[in-house]
Amino acid sequence: MSIQIHRLTGPTWNGNPTRIDSGGAGTTKANAVDQHLTTNTSPIKIPSEELSFSFWVTTTLYSDGLGSHGVVDNVRWYGNWNLDSMANSGIDYQVGILSGLDVNYSQAIAHPTKESSGADLYETYGGQPYFSNYYGYYADTSPSGIIASDPIDFGSMSFDASSEGYLNSALIYQVVVSGNASPGSNTTQTFTWQYDES
Protein backbone atom coordinates (compact mmCIF):
# COMPACT_ATOMS: atom_id res chain seq x y z
CA MET A 1 0.00 0.00 0.00
CA SER A 2 0.75 2.96 -1.31
CA ILE A 3 -0.94 6.25 -0.65
CA GLN A 4 1.68 8.77 0.45
CA ILE A 5 1.97 12.47 1.28
CA HIS A 6 4.44 14.26 -0.94
CA ARG A 7 5.80 17.76 -0.74
CA LEU A 8 6.40 19.16 -4.18
CA THR A 9 9.38 21.43 -4.65
CA GLY A 10 11.45 22.55 -7.57
CA PRO A 11 10.58 24.09 -10.91
CA THR A 12 8.12 21.42 -12.05
CA TRP A 13 5.43 19.68 -10.05
CA ASN A 14 6.86 16.25 -10.73
CA GLY A 15 10.45 17.40 -10.68
CA ASN A 16 11.52 16.90 -7.08
CA PRO A 17 8.77 15.51 -4.86
CA THR A 18 9.68 14.39 -1.36
CA ARG A 19 7.68 11.85 0.58
CA ILE A 20 6.94 13.41 3.98
CA ASP A 21 4.64 10.90 5.66
CA SER A 22 5.70 8.14 8.03
CA GLY A 23 7.69 6.30 5.39
CA GLY A 24 9.46 9.36 4.14
CA ALA A 25 11.60 12.26 5.18
CA GLY A 26 9.49 13.57 8.04
CA THR A 27 7.52 16.65 8.92
CA THR A 28 8.34 19.58 6.75
CA LYS A 29 8.91 23.14 7.93
CA ALA A 30 7.76 26.25 6.18
CA ASN A 31 10.76 28.55 5.89
CA ALA A 32 12.56 30.85 3.49
CA VAL A 33 13.66 28.30 0.89
CA ASP A 34 11.90 25.97 -1.52
CA GLN A 35 13.21 22.82 0.12
CA HIS A 36 11.92 20.12 2.42
CA LEU A 37 13.71 20.83 5.71
CA THR A 38 12.91 19.56 9.18
CA THR A 39 15.22 21.98 10.96
CA ASN A 40 14.98 25.67 11.85
CA THR A 41 17.41 26.75 9.18
CA SER A 42 16.45 29.44 6.66
CA PRO A 43 14.06 31.29 8.98
CA ILE A 44 11.61 33.93 7.84
CA LYS A 45 12.61 37.44 8.80
CA ILE A 46 10.27 39.45 11.03
CA PRO A 47 9.49 42.52 8.97
CA SER A 48 9.87 46.07 10.21
CA GLU A 49 6.79 46.95 8.20
CA GLU A 50 4.09 45.10 6.28
CA LEU A 51 4.43 41.30 6.08
CA SER A 52 6.98 38.60 5.42
CA PHE A 53 6.14 35.14 4.08
CA SER A 54 7.53 31.67 4.12
CA PHE A 55 8.08 30.04 0.76
CA TRP A 56 4.78 28.34 0.10
CA VAL A 57 4.52 24.61 0.81
CA THR A 58 2.78 22.42 -1.76
CA THR A 59 1.60 18.99 -0.65
CA THR A 60 -0.54 16.36 -2.29
CA LEU A 61 -1.35 12.66 -2.30
CA TYR A 62 0.56 10.12 -4.35
CA SER A 63 -0.23 6.51 -5.14
CA ASP A 64 2.48 4.03 -6.08
CA GLY A 65 -0.17 1.83 -7.68
CA LEU A 66 0.54 -1.10 -5.39
CA GLY A 67 -2.54 -0.90 -3.18
CA SER A 68 -5.49 -3.23 -3.35
CA HIS A 69 -8.03 -0.46 -3.91
CA GLY A 70 -8.75 1.31 -7.15
CA VAL A 71 -10.22 4.68 -6.30
CA VAL A 72 -9.31 7.39 -3.80
CA ASP A 73 -12.02 9.98 -3.22
CA ASN A 74 -13.69 12.12 -0.56
CA VAL A 75 -10.37 13.83 0.06
CA ARG A 76 -10.06 16.24 2.99
CA TRP A 77 -7.27 18.17 4.58
CA TYR A 78 -6.83 19.42 8.14
CA GLY A 79 -4.24 21.70 9.63
CA ASN A 80 -3.54 20.70 13.20
CA TRP A 81 -2.22 24.10 14.11
CA ASN A 82 -3.30 25.55 17.40
CA LEU A 83 -4.90 28.74 16.26
CA ASP A 84 -5.92 29.73 19.77
CA SER A 85 -2.30 30.00 20.82
CA MET A 86 -1.47 31.77 17.60
CA ALA A 87 -4.07 34.48 18.00
CA ASN A 88 -2.39 37.89 18.09
CA SER A 89 1.00 36.20 17.82
CA GLY A 90 1.86 37.88 14.56
CA ILE A 91 1.86 34.49 12.82
CA ASP A 92 -0.84 33.76 10.25
CA TYR A 93 -1.40 31.28 7.50
CA GLN A 94 -2.93 31.51 4.08
CA VAL A 95 -4.08 28.36 2.42
CA GLY A 96 -5.46 27.41 -0.96
CA ILE A 97 -6.44 24.28 -2.84
CA LEU A 98 -4.71 24.36 -6.20
CA SER A 99 -6.76 22.81 -8.97
CA GLY A 100 -5.15 21.27 -12.05
CA LEU A 101 -1.82 20.57 -10.41
CA ASP A 102 -0.34 19.21 -13.62
CA VAL A 103 -0.75 22.49 -15.48
CA ASN A 104 -0.99 25.08 -12.70
CA TYR A 105 1.86 24.10 -10.39
CA SER A 106 4.19 27.01 -9.74
CA GLN A 107 7.42 26.85 -7.80
CA ALA A 108 7.66 28.73 -4.52
CA ILE A 109 9.93 31.72 -5.01
CA ALA A 110 11.53 34.50 -3.02
CA HIS A 111 9.85 37.82 -2.44
CA PRO A 112 11.06 40.27 -5.05
CA THR A 113 12.14 42.90 -2.53
CA LYS A 114 12.03 41.53 1.02
CA GLU A 115 15.00 39.79 2.59
CA SER A 116 14.45 36.20 3.85
CA SER A 117 10.87 36.12 2.68
CA GLY A 118 8.95 34.12 0.18
CA ALA A 119 6.65 35.74 -2.34
CA ASP A 120 3.02 36.26 -1.40
CA LEU A 121 1.26 33.05 -2.44
CA TYR A 122 -2.00 34.67 -3.43
CA GLU A 123 -0.56 37.60 -5.33
CA THR A 124 2.13 35.60 -7.10
CA TYR A 125 -0.05 32.69 -8.06
CA GLY A 126 -2.68 34.91 -9.50
CA GLY A 127 -5.41 34.26 -6.97
CA GLN A 128 -8.76 32.76 -7.58
CA PRO A 129 -8.35 31.36 -11.09
CA TYR A 130 -6.10 28.70 -9.67
CA PHE A 131 -7.56 28.16 -6.23
CA SER A 132 -10.83 26.28 -5.96
CA ASN A 133 -10.86 27.25 -2.30
CA TYR A 134 -8.83 29.99 -0.74
CA TYR A 135 -8.50 30.99 2.89
CA GLY A 136 -6.80 34.25 3.66
CA TYR A 137 -4.98 35.34 6.78
CA TYR A 138 -7.14 33.92 9.49
CA ALA A 139 -5.11 32.94 12.52
CA ASP A 140 -5.26 36.35 14.13
CA THR A 141 -8.78 37.15 13.12
CA SER A 142 -10.34 33.72 13.58
CA PRO A 143 -8.63 31.84 16.37
CA SER A 144 -11.16 29.03 16.10
CA GLY A 145 -10.97 29.18 12.36
CA ILE A 146 -11.59 26.68 9.68
CA ILE A 147 -8.22 25.00 9.67
CA ALA A 148 -8.42 23.77 13.23
CA SER A 149 -12.08 22.94 13.49
CA ASP A 150 -13.27 22.01 10.00
CA PRO A 151 -11.79 20.10 7.10
CA ILE A 152 -10.91 21.67 3.81
CA ASP A 153 -12.92 19.51 1.48
CA PHE A 154 -11.56 18.69 -1.94
CA GLY A 155 -15.13 18.03 -3.06
CA SER A 156 -15.55 15.49 -5.82
CA MET A 157 -11.83 15.21 -6.43
CA SER A 158 -10.70 11.61 -6.84
CA PHE A 159 -7.95 9.68 -8.54
CA ASP A 160 -7.10 6.23 -9.77
CA ALA A 161 -5.00 4.50 -7.11
CA SER A 162 -4.48 1.36 -9.14
CA SER A 163 -1.72 3.05 -11.10
CA GLU A 164 1.12 5.34 -10.10
CA GLY A 165 0.20 8.98 -9.98
CA TYR A 166 -0.85 12.08 -8.11
CA LEU A 167 -4.10 13.62 -7.03
CA ASN A 168 -4.45 16.44 -9.52
CA SER A 169 -4.97 19.01 -6.79
CA ALA A 170 -2.67 20.19 -4.07
CA LEU A 171 -2.93 21.97 -0.76
CA ILE A 172 -0.69 25.00 -0.65
CA TYR A 173 0.00 27.01 2.48
CA GLN A 174 2.44 29.57 3.70
CA VAL A 175 3.24 31.20 7.01
CA VAL A 176 2.63 34.94 7.13
CA VAL A 177 4.67 36.95 9.63
CA SER A 178 3.91 40.47 10.81
CA GLY A 179 6.02 42.86 12.86
CA ASN A 180 4.16 41.73 15.99
CA ALA A 181 5.85 38.33 15.90
CA SER A 182 8.52 37.41 18.42
CA PRO A 183 11.86 35.92 17.39
CA GLY A 184 12.19 32.17 17.85
CA SER A 185 10.92 28.94 16.39
CA ASN A 186 7.26 28.29 15.86
CA THR A 187 5.64 24.90 16.40
CA THR A 188 6.25 22.62 13.44
CA GLN A 189 3.23 22.62 11.17
CA THR A 190 1.49 19.28 11.21
CA PHE A 191 -1.21 18.61 8.69
CA THR A 192 -3.43 15.66 7.97
CA TRP A 193 -4.87 14.25 4.79
CA GLN A 194 -8.00 12.13 5.03
CA TYR A 195 -9.45 10.09 2.20
CA ASP A 196 -11.53 7.06 1.29
CA GLU A 197 -10.41 4.09 -0.79
CA SER A 198 -12.54 1.47 -2.44
Binding site: S22, T27, T28, S68, H69, Q189
Partner: protein, 120 residues
Protein backbone atom coordinates in the same frame (compact mmCIF):
# COMPACT_ATOMS: atom_id res chain seq x y z
CA UNK B 1 -4.66 -22.04 0.44
CA UNK B 2 -2.96 -19.24 2.34
CA UNK B 3 -5.15 -16.47 3.70
CA UNK B 4 -4.43 -12.97 2.43
CA UNK B 5 -2.55 -10.74 4.85
CA UNK B 6 -3.96 -7.58 6.33
CA UNK B 7 -7.50 -6.25 6.07
CA UNK B 8 -9.71 -7.01 3.11
CA UNK B 9 -13.39 -7.15 2.21
CA UNK B 10 -15.24 -10.26 1.09
CA UNK B 11 -18.61 -10.54 -0.60
CA UNK B 12 -20.59 -13.76 -0.60
CA UNK B 13 -23.04 -14.21 -3.43
CA UNK B 14 -26.41 -15.93 -3.29
CA UNK B 15 -24.89 -19.03 -4.91
CA UNK B 16 -22.25 -19.27 -2.17
CA UNK B 17 -19.32 -18.10 -4.27
CA UNK B 18 -17.10 -15.35 -2.89
CA UNK B 19 -14.98 -12.48 -4.11
CA UNK B 20 -12.34 -10.69 -2.06
CA UNK B 21 -10.67 -7.33 -2.53
CA UNK B 22 -7.26 -8.89 -2.96
CA UNK B 23 -8.17 -10.16 -6.41
CA UNK B 24 -11.40 -8.38 -7.33
CA UNK B 25 -11.95 -4.67 -7.92
CA UNK B 26 -14.73 -3.11 -5.87
CA UNK B 27 -16.31 -1.88 -9.09
CA UNK B 28 -16.48 -5.47 -10.38
CA UNK B 29 -18.70 -6.80 -7.59
CA UNK B 30 -21.93 -8.24 -8.99
CA UNK B 31 -23.99 -6.16 -6.63
CA UNK B 32 -27.47 -7.55 -7.21
CA UNK B 33 -26.32 -11.05 -6.19
CA UNK B 34 -24.56 -10.16 -2.95
CA UNK B 35 -26.05 -11.57 0.23
CA UNK B 36 -23.23 -10.79 2.68
CA UNK B 37 -20.46 -8.19 2.97
CA UNK B 38 -17.65 -8.97 5.39
CA UNK B 39 -14.40 -7.51 6.67
CA UNK B 40 -11.53 -9.88 7.43
CA UNK B 41 -7.99 -9.53 8.69
CA UNK B 42 -5.39 -12.21 7.95
CA UNK B 43 -8.26 -14.57 7.16
CA UNK B 44 -10.10 -13.92 10.42
CA UNK B 45 -13.58 -12.43 10.36
CA UNK B 46 -13.89 -8.93 11.87
CA UNK B 47 -17.50 -8.21 10.95
CA UNK B 48 -20.11 -9.61 8.59
CA UNK B 49 -23.13 -7.73 7.36
CA UNK B 50 -26.09 -9.49 5.71
CA UNK B 51 -27.53 -7.76 2.65
CA UNK B 52 -31.15 -8.30 1.64
CA UNK B 53 -32.20 -8.17 -2.02
CA UNK B 54 -33.92 -4.80 -1.59
CA UNK B 55 -30.85 -3.31 0.15
CA UNK B 56 -27.70 -1.79 -1.24
CA UNK B 57 -24.29 -1.70 0.37
CA UNK B 58 -20.91 -0.01 0.31
CA UNK B 59 -17.39 -0.46 1.55
CA UNK B 60 -14.71 2.18 2.13
CA UNK B 61 -11.31 2.20 3.72
CA UNK B 62 -10.99 5.61 5.41
CA UNK B 63 -7.52 6.81 6.34
CA UNK B 64 -6.07 9.86 8.06
CA UNK B 65 -2.39 10.37 7.41
CA UNK B 66 -0.43 13.19 9.01
CA UNK B 67 2.83 14.83 8.18
CA UNK B 68 4.18 13.90 11.63
CA UNK B 69 4.10 10.23 10.66
CA UNK B 70 0.91 9.21 12.43
CA UNK B 71 -1.99 7.55 10.67
CA UNK B 72 -5.31 5.90 11.53
CA UNK B 73 -7.61 3.73 9.46
CA UNK B 74 -11.16 2.54 9.74
CA UNK B 75 -13.11 0.29 7.41
CA UNK B 76 -16.69 1.26 6.65
CA UNK B 77 -19.24 -1.42 5.84
CA UNK B 78 -22.73 -0.13 5.25
CA UNK B 79 -26.01 -1.80 4.45
CA UNK B 80 -28.12 0.93 2.91
CA UNK B 81 -31.85 0.49 3.20
CA UNK B 82 -34.87 2.79 3.00
CA UNK B 83 -35.81 1.92 6.55
CA UNK B 84 -32.96 0.14 8.27
CA UNK B 85 -29.44 1.38 7.60
CA UNK B 86 -26.63 -0.36 9.39
CA UNK B 87 -23.20 1.21 9.21
CA UNK B 88 -20.11 -0.34 10.74
CA UNK B 89 -16.97 1.66 11.42
CA UNK B 90 -14.26 -0.92 12.17
CA UNK B 91 -11.10 0.82 13.30
CA UNK B 92 -7.78 -0.94 12.98
CA UNK B 93 -7.13 -0.34 16.70
CA UNK B 94 -9.95 -2.81 17.36
CA UNK B 95 -12.82 -0.40 18.04
CA UNK B 96 -16.06 -1.15 16.20
CA UNK B 97 -18.79 1.49 16.12
CA UNK B 98 -22.28 0.72 14.81
CA UNK B 99 -24.51 3.53 13.56
CA UNK B 100 -27.69 3.98 11.56
CA UNK B 101 -26.62 7.13 9.72
CA UNK B 102 -23.57 9.07 8.72
CA UNK B 103 -22.75 12.32 10.53
CA UNK B 104 -21.16 14.96 8.34
CA UNK B 105 -20.11 16.95 11.39
CA UNK B 106 -17.93 14.17 12.73
CA UNK B 107 -14.31 13.66 11.77
CA UNK B 108 -14.77 9.91 11.18
CA UNK B 109 -18.47 9.25 10.67
CA UNK B 110 -19.13 11.60 7.74
CA UNK B 111 -20.67 10.22 4.60
CA UNK B 112 -18.59 8.74 1.83
CA UNK B 113 -19.19 9.89 -1.70
CA UNK B 114 -22.08 7.61 -2.66
CA UNK B 115 -21.74 6.27 -6.18
CA UNK B 116 -24.64 5.74 -8.53
CA UNK B 117 -24.51 1.96 -8.15
CA UNK B 118 -24.59 2.27 -4.36
CA UNK B 119 -27.78 4.32 -4.16
CA UNK B 120 -30.95 2.73 -2.91
Amino acid sequence: MTNPRGYYWEVMYQNGLKDISVDTAYSDIVRDRVKRLSLLKDGNLIYSLPVEPEDNFLYRKRTTMSSDGTSSTCHILARLSKHNNKIIFAFENGDIITRTDFDDNDQWFYSPTIREEEKI
